[in-house]
C-alpha cells in the first residue's frame, strides 16, 4: 500500500518534472531558433556601406528661379526646385480642405523659394515628370506621374490620381545659403 502510494506520487512528480523539462527545452529552442533566424533576416536589411551613402550635398547657387535639379540620394531622385513667386503664392493659397493629404505649404519647406522633396511617386514608385523644362507638369502646375496618372501641385502635394500621399520631404538642412545637405 505504502509502495503504491509512493509510486503514484513519484509518477505525479515525474509528470510535473517532465512537463517542466519539456516546456523549458521548447522555450530554450525557440529562443535559440529566434537568435539564429534574426541575423539571417536582418542581413537582408540595408548594410553599413549602403547606410554610409545616406546623405548627399549639393550647391544650389546656380539654380535660377523657376529651375529644378535632380539630386541622387539613397539611389532615389530628390527634386530641388527654386520656386517662382507665382508658384509659392499658388501653393500657399490652397485651402487644406481641398487636399487629399492635407499639409500646408509652410510645413513642407524651410525657405519658401526652395522646395526639396523625394521625387518618387507615392503610388508605386515611378519618377514623376515635370522637373525638367518641357515635361508635363500635370493639371496643378507641379509634377505629373505618367505611370498611373497622379498630379502633384507646386508644393508637391497629391491633388488628383491614385497616389495616397504627398511627395515626401526628406530630412535636409542648409549648410549655408548655397549648400543643401539631404539626409
Amino acid at each position: 500500500m505504502m509502495a503504491d502510494i509512493s509510486q503514484s506520487d513519484d509518477q505525479n512528480e515525474d509528470v510535473g518534472r517532465r512537463d517542466f523539462l519539456g516546456i523549458a527545452t521548447l522555450a530554450t529552442s525557440a529562443v535559440g531558433a529566434g537568435a539564429f533566424i534574426w541575423p539571417i533576416i536582418d542581413s537582408m536589411n540595408p548594410s553599413a556601406d549602403v547606410l554610409a551613402l545616406s546623405s548627399s550635398e549639393v550647391d544650389i547657387s546656380t539654380i535660377e528661379v523657376g529651375q529644378s535639379i535632380t539630386l541622387k540620394w539613397r539611389g532615389k531622385p530628390v527634386f530641388i526646385r527654386h520656386r517662382t513667386a507665382g508658384e509659392i503664392a499658388e501653393a500657399e493659397s490652397v485651402a487644406l480642405s481641398e487636399l487629399i493629404d492635407p499639409e500646408s505649404d509652410d510645413m513642407r519647406v524651410q525657405k519658401p523659394e526652395w522646395l526639396v522633396m523625394v521625387g518618387v511617386c507615392t503610388h508605386l514608385g515611378c519618377i514623376p515628370l515635370g522637373n525638367k523644362d518641357g515635361e508635363p507638369k500635370g493639371e496643378f502646375g507641379g509634377w505629373f506621374c505618367p505611370c498611373h496618372g497622379s498630379h502633384y501641385d507646386t508644393s508637391g502635394r497629391i491633388r488628383k490620381g491614385p497616389a495616397p500621399t504627398n511627395l515626401p520631404v526628406p530630412k535636409y538642412s542648409f549648410l549655408s545659403d548655397d549648400v543643401v545637405r539631404v539626409g
Binding site: 533576416i41 537582408m44 536589411n45 540595408p46 548594410s47 549602403v50 545616406s54 535632380t70 541622387k72 539613397r74 539611389g75 532615389k76 531622385p77 487629399i100 518618387v120 503610388h123 508605386l124 514608385g125 515611378c126 519618377i127 505618367p146 505611370c147 498611373h148 496618372g149 491614385p162 495616397p164
Partner: protein, 423 residues
C-alpha cells in the same frame, strides 16, 4: 490498384531493387498505375508543365554560369550571352520563351481543373498544392525578369516591391528590407538572382508532392466520375505515355517556333534599354502572364465603385494589393466555394457557361492590364474585376444550389460502350 511486384529479369536491376526498390516503385507508379481510359488531351498539360520546368532548370543553370548579378554588369553579361557565348542566344531564348510556355500550359492545366471539377473531393489538397505551385511560379518568373536589368526589369521590380508599402505601419520597413537599401539597387539584384536560382527547386519539390497526391486519388477525367474497376481504366504506361508524347511533341514545336521565329514577340522592347533609376518608361507593363492580376491591382482607384465599400477602412492602394492576392487565394478555397457535387461541367448546363465566361473575363482583364490606365479601360477593368470576385463568391456557390445537373452515367465505360441499359 496495381498488379503484383514484377520479377525483374536483369540481375543488376534485381540486385539494386532488393536493396532500394526504385524499379518496383516506378513500376507501381507508371506501368502499374491505372488511369481513367477516357482522358482527353487536356490531361497532357501537366506533363508538358513538367517538361517546361525541366527545360527551364537546365537552361537556367547554363545561363547562371555566364551571368553576372551586378547592376554595372548584368545587362552587358546578358548581351555577352547573346553575342559571344557559344549557343548563348539559343539557351537564353529557350529560357526566355520557356517562361511564357510554362505559363501557357499551366493556365490551360488550371482551366482543365476548373472545367472538369478536378479540385473537388478527394482532390482538394492536390488542387491547393497546384495553387501553391502557381504562386511560386509567379514569384520565380517575376524575379527572373529583373535579372537582365533592363528598363522593364528595373521598373517592374520597383512597382511590384512597392506594393508591400501599402501594408499599414510596417509597409515601408518591409520594402526597405526587400530592397536591402532605399531603392531597387545592387543588393536587390543579388538577392533576386539567389532566389531565382532557389525557387525552381522548391517548385520541383512541390511538384513531387503534387504528383504524389495525384497518385493517391488517381486522375480525374472528363466525365468527373471515379473509375469503378479495371474496365474503366488503362495503365499509365504505355497508354498515357504514348498519348502524352504526341502532346509533348506539339508543345515543343510551339516552343521552338517562338525561339527560332519570334523570340522577342512576348517580351517588351524597353527591356533592351539598360535600367535607368532616374527615368521611368512612359508605360510600365508586366509580362503577359501577369496582366490579369495587374488589371485587378490597378482597378482600385479612389473613385472606383468596387472601392467604396471599404473606403472607410483602407487606401485604394492597399485594397488593390489585397484584391490581387485574394484573386489567387480564392482559387485555393474553390473546393469549398463550389457547392455542387457534380464534378464535370459536361453535366452542369449552367456552370459550364459560367466557367467559359469567367475565362473570357480573365482574358479581358489581361487585355485591360496591358493598356494604360485611362479612358474606358478604367471602368472596364473595374467591372471585369467585380465580375471576377462575383464569379467565385456569389455565382459559384449559388449555382451549385439551384442548378439541375444532367444525369450522370453510371460508369466511365457506359457511355463509351453505349450499352444504354440504365437510361
Amino acid at each position: 490498384m496495381s498488379g503484383p511486384a514484377p520479377e525483374f529479369k536483369n540481375p543488376i536491376v534485381r540486385w539494386i531493387d532488393v536493396r532500394l526498390p526504385v524499379f518496383t516503385f516506378m513500376h507501381h507508379e507508371y506501368r502499374g498505375f491505372p488511369v481513367p481510359k477516357n482522358l482527353n488531351y487536356f490531361w497532357s498539360f501537366g506533363g508538358m508543365a513538367m517538361v517546361a520546368l525541366i527545360g527551364m532548370i537546365l537552361t537556367g543553370i547554363m545561363l547562371a554560369m555566364q551571368y553576372t548579378p551586378h547592376v554595372d554588369h548584368a545587362f552587358d553579361s546578358v548581351e555577352r550571352i547573346m553575342r559571344d557565348v557559344n549557343w548563348g542566344w539559343l539557351i537564353r531564348y529557350i529560357h526566355m520563351n520557356g517562361g511564357s510556355m510554362f505559363f501557357i500550359v499551366v493556365y490551360i492545366h488550371i482551366f482543365r481543373g476548373l472545367y472538369y471539377g478536378s479540385y473537388k473531393d478527394p482532390r482538394e489538397l492536390l488542387w491547393i498544392l497546384g495553387v501553391v505551385l502557381f504562386i511560386l511560379m509567379m514569384a520565380t518568373a517575376f524575379m527572373g525578369y529583373v535579372l537582365p536589368w533592363g528598363q522593364m526589369s528595373f521598373w517592374g521590380a520597383t512597382v511590384i516591391t512597392n506594393l508591400f508599402s501599402a501594408i499599414p505601419v510596417v509597409g515601408d520597413a518591409i520594402v526597405t528590407w526587400l530592397w536591402g537599401g532605399f531603392s531597387v539597387d545592387n543588393p536587390t539584384l543579388n538577392r533576386f538572382f539567389s532566389l531565382h536560382f532557389l525557387l525552381p527547386f522548391a517548385i520541383l519539390g512541390v511538384v513531387i508532392l503534387h504528383i504524389a497526391a495525384m497518385h493517391v486519388s488517381g486522375s480525374n477525367n472528363p466525365k468527373g466520375i471515379e473509375p469503378k474497376g479495371p474496365q474503366d481504366t488503362v495503365m499509365f504506361h504505355p497508354f498515357m505515355t504514348a498519348k502524352d508524347t504526341v502532346a509533348l511533341i506539339a508543345f515543343i514545336l510551339v516552343w521552338a517556333f517562338f525561339v527560332f521565329y519570334a523570340p522577342n514577340y512576348m517580351g517588351h522592347p524597353d527591356n533592351y534599354i539598360p535600367a535607368d533609376p532616374f527615368s521611368t518608361p512612359a508605360h510600365i507593363v508586366p509580362e503577359w502572364y501577369f496582366l490579369p492580376f495587374y488589371g485587378i491591382l490597378r482597378a482600385f482607384t479612389a473613385d472606383a465603385f468596387i472601392y467604396w465599400p471599404v473606403a472607410w477602412l483602407m487606401t485604394p492602394k492597399l485594397m488593390g494589393v489585397l484584391a490581387m492576392f485574394a484573386s489567387l487565394g480564392l482559387l485555393a478555397v474553390l473546393p469549398w466555394l463550389d457547392t455542387s457535387r457534380v464534378k464535370s461541367c459536361s453535366f452542369r448546363p449552367i456552370y459550364k457557361w459560367l466557367v467559359i465566361i469567367f475565362v473570357l473575363d480573365v482574358i479581358f482583364l489581361g487585355y485591360l492590364g496591358g493598356k494604360p490606365a485611362e479612358g474606358w479601360y478604367v471602368p472596364a477593368s473595374q467591372w471585369a474585376t467585380f465580375y471576377y470576385f462575383v464569379h467565385f463568391l456569389v455565382l459559384t456557390p449559388l449555382v451549385g444550389w439551384f442548378e439541375k445537373p444532367k444525369p450522370l452515367p453510371t460508369s466511365i465505360s457506359e457511355p463509351v460502350l453505349d450499352t444504354d441499359s440504365s437510361k
